[in-house]
């Protein structure tokens, strides 16, 4: 195992991408993710890679499209407003079945909002964002080590499915430092070949990459193929974690930064003898439906509390799994406000007391 290093979440994503064989970064600055391009701007040239600060987010995502079509591992990163600008390109990447890593270090919205952390881009990440029937694999790390691990995995899965993959972090995770173990550096030339890439014909057959199918039937056939791929992702790629969920009477569901804040709150409640546990989706799409379903089927859970740094987005997916069997309460902070373990603890206690109101935006 390599030496531990102390890194910011943002830097860790950059280094992990490089170690996974990514040599191309195209982006445009925005807080709170600027350490990613900053890191890539000096690290990529040092390993023979390319860093371009594009003239805009729209330009950056289309540069990603070009590099991905040429068959190389490529990434871009931004924060909420910038990710909105990239949605058209992401839809094109999905439609053209091009692998790429997109990192969203979320900040409070809507509009320019704030530079403080938020989770209010969940809908955009898992329900579409751009136009058309497409899906992204969406990973939600909650530690800097997970930023590293999921970045490597994301690069890998993107190539495997020929599909863009999104890492959904937030400003807090991007800015904080934790010790990480980094994987060894892989060389791009050692990665599997991409027989579909438009990397030069050299006398071989013509290859075309494009998302245009003018004939309705042909476009439907294309959609069928895409949907079959998404069903496979649903079957194979779900990831989750849980704490004290086995005997929990109240189950907290949270992801990313909020999940670790909930964990501290739950530790305290456990010490006081309250049977509260946590379910943490790591893939937000595909949402780990069967795993949550299984916990509910045990019959111990009396109520569910969803906590997010949003006005209530993931809670919709949780409600659709719970399907009315037990009450689902929600607690959210918005606009860049990070909830404290104390206030979350209070909410969990309220749910134990029978309160199932939706204390949304305070």
């Amino acid at each position: 195992m390599e030496e531990l290093v102390l890194m910011k979440g943002n830097e860790a994503v950059g280094e992990a991408a490089i170690r996974a064989g990514c040599r191309f970064f195209f982006g445009y600055p925005i807080t709170p993710q600027n350490e990613i391009p900053e890191y890539m701007s000096h690290r990529l040239p040092a390993v023979g890679g390319v860093f371009v600060q594009a003239e805009s987010e729209v330009a950056a995502i289309n540069m990603v499209y070009g590099a991905a079509a040429a068959g190389v591992r490529v990434m871009t990163s931004s924060s909420s407003p910038g990710i909105s600008l990239k949605q058209e390109g992401i839809s094109y990447l999905a439609g053209s079945e091009l692998p790429a890593l997109v990192v969203n270090i979320m900040r409070g919205g809507p509009g320019l909002g704030t530079i403080q952390p938020a989770q209010s881009d969940y809908f955009q990440a898992v329900k579409g964002g751009g136009h058309g029937d497409y899906r992204l694999l969406v990973y939600a790390p909650s530690t800097v080590q997970e930023m590293v691990d999921l970045t490597g995995l994301a690069m890998d899965r993107a190539d495997h499915y020929r599909n863009p993959v999104l890492i959904l972090g937030d400003g807090l995770l991007g800015q904080m430092m934790e010790p990480v173990h980094l994987p060894p550096l892989s060389r791009p030339e050692d990665l599997p070949e991409k027989p579909w890439a438009t990397s030069g014909r050299r006398g071989g057959p013509r290859r075309v990459i494009n998302s245009l199918y003018l004939q309705a039937e042909a476009c439907e056939e294309h959609n069928r193929r895409l949907q079959a791929k998404y069903r496979e992702m649903e079957a194979v790629e779900q990831r989750w974690d849980s704490d004290w969920a086995e005997d929990a009477e109240v189950l907290v569901v949270a992801y990313g930064t909020v999940a670790r804040i909930c964990r501290t709150a739950l530790q305290d409640l456990r010490r006081r003898g309250l049977a509260a546990g946590m379910f943490r989706p790591i893939t937000l799409w595909p949402f780990p439906v069967p795993a949550l379903e299984q916990l509910l089927k045990r019959g111990r859970i009396r109520a569910v509390l969803v906590v997010e740094m949003s006005a209530g987005q993931m809670v919709e997916d949780v409600r659709s799994v719970v399907c009315g069997r037990v009450p689902v309460a929600f607690y959210g902070r918005t606009g860049g406000v990070v909830p404290s373990p104390e206030e979350i603890g209070e909410r969990v206690r309220a749910v134990f007391g029978g309160g199932t109101d939706n204390a949304g935006c305070l």
């Binding site: 102390l6 709170p32 804040i261 501290t264």
Partner: protein
């Protein structure tokens, strides 16, 4: 260390509060502890306040956000005003008395008034006031060993800055001496 310990370090931009927190986290990592370092990253400007939260723990760290830290290092008056009330009962306040301009009002915390900026000036550079305060903190709370902090400096500073290590070491030592020998801990 047998339990989690949280420290908020706060001061003016330029006083080295971020790097002091990073050194503490780095030293904790070298000693095999779990650590998190979380900066404030609001729309700050030069001369404004900056702060970071450092958590050291023998176990996995949950929330990087701390409402009531076990210790506060306040390098100036605005930081003391902002964070004094948040320190946990029985916690520790290390106050840079050169710039705080007032004493601590609370009776339920340990207070260490350290003229960090003055002492740093005496030994050659006011910019090591952060290390004087860190020395005082380490002497009064069971966090990490001073030699782990020095080791962290060696690893974190680029080689051409290693000439600054003796001055930082001296600042650390002065802070520890002050915390040990006086001014005495105010017994509230």
């Amino acid at each position: 260390m047998d339990r989690q310990y949280e420290v908020i370090v706060a001061g003016f931009g330029g006083q080295g509060v971020m790097s002091m927190g990073q050194l503490l986290a780095y030293a904790g990592m070298l000693e095999g502890l779990q650590v998190t370092w979380m900066p404030s990253y609001g729309p700050e400007q030069r001369g404004g306040t900056a702060n970071c939260t450092v958590i050291l723990s023998p176990r996995t760290i949950g929330s990087p956000v701390v409402e009531h830290p076990a210790a506060l290092v306040a390098m100036n008056r605005p930081s003391l005003d902002k964070f004094e009330d948040r320190v946990a009962k029985g916690g520790l306040l290390v106050v840079n008395s050169t710039l705080a301009g007032r004493s601590v009002g609370r009776q339920d915390v340990r207070v260490l008034d350290i003229p960090a900026t003055t002492i740093a000036g005496e030994i050659g550079n006011e910019r090591v006031a952060n290390m004087v305060a860190l020395g005082a903190l380490l002497e009064s709370a069971p966090l990490v060993r001073a030699d782990s902090v020095v080791e962290s400096l060696r690893k974190a500073l680029p080689p051409h800055r290693h000439n600054l290590i003796p001055l930082n070491q001296e600042a650390l030592r002065r802070g520890m001496d002050l915390a040990r020998n006086g001014p005495p801990l105010k017994a509230h």
